[in-house]
């Protein structure tokens, strides 16, 4: 067992060395800006295990055919063999000319999967059986001619902060599983992972400022309480009836900014360590958003708010993630 582990370790060392010394082979050296276009210099093709076994069978068949001086059998073997060779070119063509145009990363809290959408330009070729792999996460997709190609992966996350998207393996065994063509994509993309909110919901701190407590009142669907739709407004905030009347998308302003607001102060939590403080602040931000109460986030050297809404929430979470 230990020998196996040692073997494995030395294999990994060898791989690391190869990646260090032969960057052309592994494409680990540098992050590349988008778009990344695949061409013959970065597509590799090797036979799969099945391909090797099949080739061995073809070899046995050809020896048999030669030994029996049986030409039709030899012809059959030759046809199967050249189908194999052809399938290598097909596998190459499935990747060649593919170009990674955009990587759209969603957002998530640490520990949740990060939705990552890869958008490829596929050219005018039908490409089947393409697979994307990042670590253990994989997806299979196909490209129709002249249609942008979207592959969605859910990337596991562990830590808050900027996540450099790891290198992506794009590969295929199409059409017969005899050859594996692959290419490494190492795009210069970073995704933001929000901190993980504290598991237990500690009550929000009472505002330091004395304010008259008044229940926030939604203003209904008067025109004055509506505003134009902006990207990332939640769907449920859209005032459908009013939108239909005015022939454009209108959004209900969620809340009047009156009444009490929360102050979420980083320095007011001295008893906790950094990560715990961030976790609690994150939870509070989410809670305040849920209650639709304006809040101010005080971080060392930063003051965000008072405000409310998805934009403010994103700003706060971003600040917390990068702290």
């Amino acid at each position: 067992m230990s020998r196996l582990a040692a073997l494995n370790a030395s294999w990994l060392r060898l791989l690391a060395w190869a990646e260090r010394r032969l960057p052309a082979l592994t494409r680990l050296r540098a992050k590349e800006p988008l778009p990344i276009r695949l061409d013959r210099r970065r597509i590799y093709v090797v036979p799969t295990w099945f391909g090797l076994v099949f080739a061995a069978m073809l070899f046995v068949m050809s020896i048999g055919a030669l030994n029996y001086y049986n030409n039709p059998a030899l012809l059959l073997t030759a046809v199967l063999g050249s189908v194999c060779v052809l399938s290598m070119l097909i596998a190459f063509r499935a990747l060649d000319g593919l170009s990674l145009e955009r990587v759209q990363a969603g957002t998530c809290h640490a520990g949740d999967p990060l939705p990552l959408e890869l958008v490829f330009a596929a050219g005018s070729r039908l490409r089947n059986g393409l697979r994307v792999e990042i670590g253990d996460v994989a997806a299979v997709f196909a490209a129709l001619p002249d249609e942008p190609l979207r592959a969605t992966l859910a990337l596991p996350t562990q830590r808050r902060g900027l996540l450099a998207v790891p290198r992506i393996c794009l590969w295929t065994r199409w059409p017969y599983g005899l050859f594996r063509a692959w290419s490494w994509l190492n795009p210069q993309i970073e995704a933001l992972v929000y901190p993980r909110p504290e598991d237990t919901a500690v009550p929000l701190p009472q505002s330091g400022r004395e304010a008259q407590r008044s229940v926030a009142q939604p203003l209904g669907e008067e025109f004055g309480a509506l505003r134009e739709y902006r990207a990332r407004d939640p769907l449920r905030a859209i005032a459908w009836k009013a939108s239909a009347r005015h022939d454009r998308l209108l959004v209900r302003e969620p809340e009047q900014l009156t009444g009490e607001d929360y102050v979420l102060d980083f320095d007011a939590l001295p008893a906790l360590d950094l990560e715990a403080r961030i976790a609690r602040l994150t939870r509070w931000v989410l809670m305040a958003e849920e209650r639709r109460t304006p809040y101010t986030l005080l971080l060392p050297g930063q003051r965000l708010g008072p405000d409310l809404g998805s934009a403010h929430r994103q700003r706060c979470l971003r600040a917390l993630a990068l702290l």
Binding site: L75, A78, G123, G177
Partner: protein, 654 residues
Amino acid sequence: MRLDRRQFDLTALTVLCATLLHATHFPFWLSLGLIAAIAARWLQRRRRPDWGKPPVLLRLPLTLALPIVVWLTYGNLFGLDPGSVFAVGMLVLKLGESETPRDARAVATFTSFVLMAALLFEQDMLTTLYVGLGVIPLLMLLRALEPSGHDVPQPVARELLRDGRAVALNLFAAVPLAVLVFLFLPRLAAPLWVTQGAPQGKTGLGDSMSPGNMSDLFLDDQPAFRVTFDAPVPPPAQRYWRGVVLWRYDGRTWSRAGGGPLDPGRQELRPLSPEIGYEITQEPGRQRWLFALDLPTSDAPGYSRDEDFTLAAARPIDKPLRYTLHSAPRYTLSGLNTLQRQRALRLPEGFNPRAVALGRQWAQQYAEPQQVVQAALDLIRAEFRYTLSPPPLGRHAMDDFLFETRAGYCEYFASAFAVLMRAAGIPTRVVMGYQGGYWNEAGSYMIVRQSDAHAWNEVWLDDRGWVRVDPTAAVSPDRIELGSGANAAFNRWYGSEWLLALRNRWDIANHWWTRLVVQFDEISQRGLLRGVGIDQAGWRELGIAFALGMGLLAALGLWWALRRERGDADLVDRAYAKLCAKLGRRGFARTPSEGPNDYLYRVLQQRPQARAALEPLFARYLQLRYASSDVDDTAAQDFARAVRRVDLAALHGS
């Protein structure tokens, strides 16, 4: 991961195809059992997919039973027949436990071997074609095992059609490389291990003759051999294809006595007519006899010629064989020693007393042997009937035939004639071979079928040597003049013109298949480069030719793989891109953010003298691209032409 329904169905189909290809040479019950096993497994997988593979308690006994069944059927586990049963049985058993893609891949790999094994039994064009068709489900299976990435499931029929078409296209594209490899792959000088000849299911002439054993042959339409002549084709009456000469008679069966090799000193063959050269392509059979037009004046190199001019190979001819011979249709053949005379006169004691008596009576009645021969022929002509279904004969077969039934075909006549002649003291032997042959005009060759099998006699006349006598010709002259089809009523169905034409064309295809593919060997390989003037190519030349061919195909393949599609840009866009490229070559590359106006402005800023050339072009582009929604084709072509012809000399210098 488990095979889905489509994947499993294709696995079953692949196995079924391979099994069907072998079913023809399996015992009937075995083929039926294998197909039933496939069907049972398929039904189980469809109806009760949750059962998974059958339990070990079922599979293990079946696996153990397989070699036992093979042993009981063939008495042997090795060799072609038992081996193929074993292989197909294993394949079906593997299907029984196939649940994962890995299993299915194993099935596909093994199936390709089983498909090849089918070709060890039959090499004709049709079988090869069937085997080629068997490759299609195999490749479709491999294709189905790879997830395609299309998330919308298609109807099964359409998916099958699409996959089938893709695979067929793939096979088609693979042909050039396959042919190149096939042509140039070095053939073995000697087999690596000793191979038993494939047991041919085909009939053919045996090495002995007894009344009734040829009747199967007359129903067999398979070709026996094909002949091409370098001289005019001999007339029907001369188309006697001599096979094996029989001397020994035991009262029922004529068989071959062990004669020595031909000794040219003792036997004198004198041609009386110009010799005919011809080449025979003989189909494989169980026997080792070669066939020659009566009578061969030359040897087939590498094959023995016995004293009675029987040509033979050392082993049964188990693959198509081609040889060149010369014959003289008219000849005298003299030289008969005492031993041969004895052998040619011997009759068994206690058989056919009436026939022997008649022969002796003739011997006393006629002075000349020729008169005896004539008497026998007259008797046959007067009293006998030609039929392919003669009545059965008793112990004294020739007595029964000569005096009771008086109906039969060539075997009966040849046998009875020989008995009469020997009784009359005239040395006689029986010759088995073929008589006739159909001249295929379109293919310029003669085809001789098994149904042309024939037997006749040779009698020794002291003044003329061995003389061919065909008693069948006396009773049924049509049999000789028109060939076996004349008296074969069962063949009438293809009497119609177009069917005959179709049949002939099909035979031509088969003929070429045999000549070009089945018989391709090292000698043909060396002649490959005859077209470029190398008569006998050595390995060096062949290697160079192979490398050239491979290089060409590789270039073609790489061109196809590396070629980039020209996008979906229309003519106008392409022409504009070309214009930009032209300008780019002269140092004015368009930046991606630049529109036509900005671009032109920038170029003209630096090279005002190019205004005359460029401004109308850009104006036309703007007009075509932005002024109207649909572009007039001729205008677009005009623009493209203008771009092609634009003179950018003004861009040089400042």
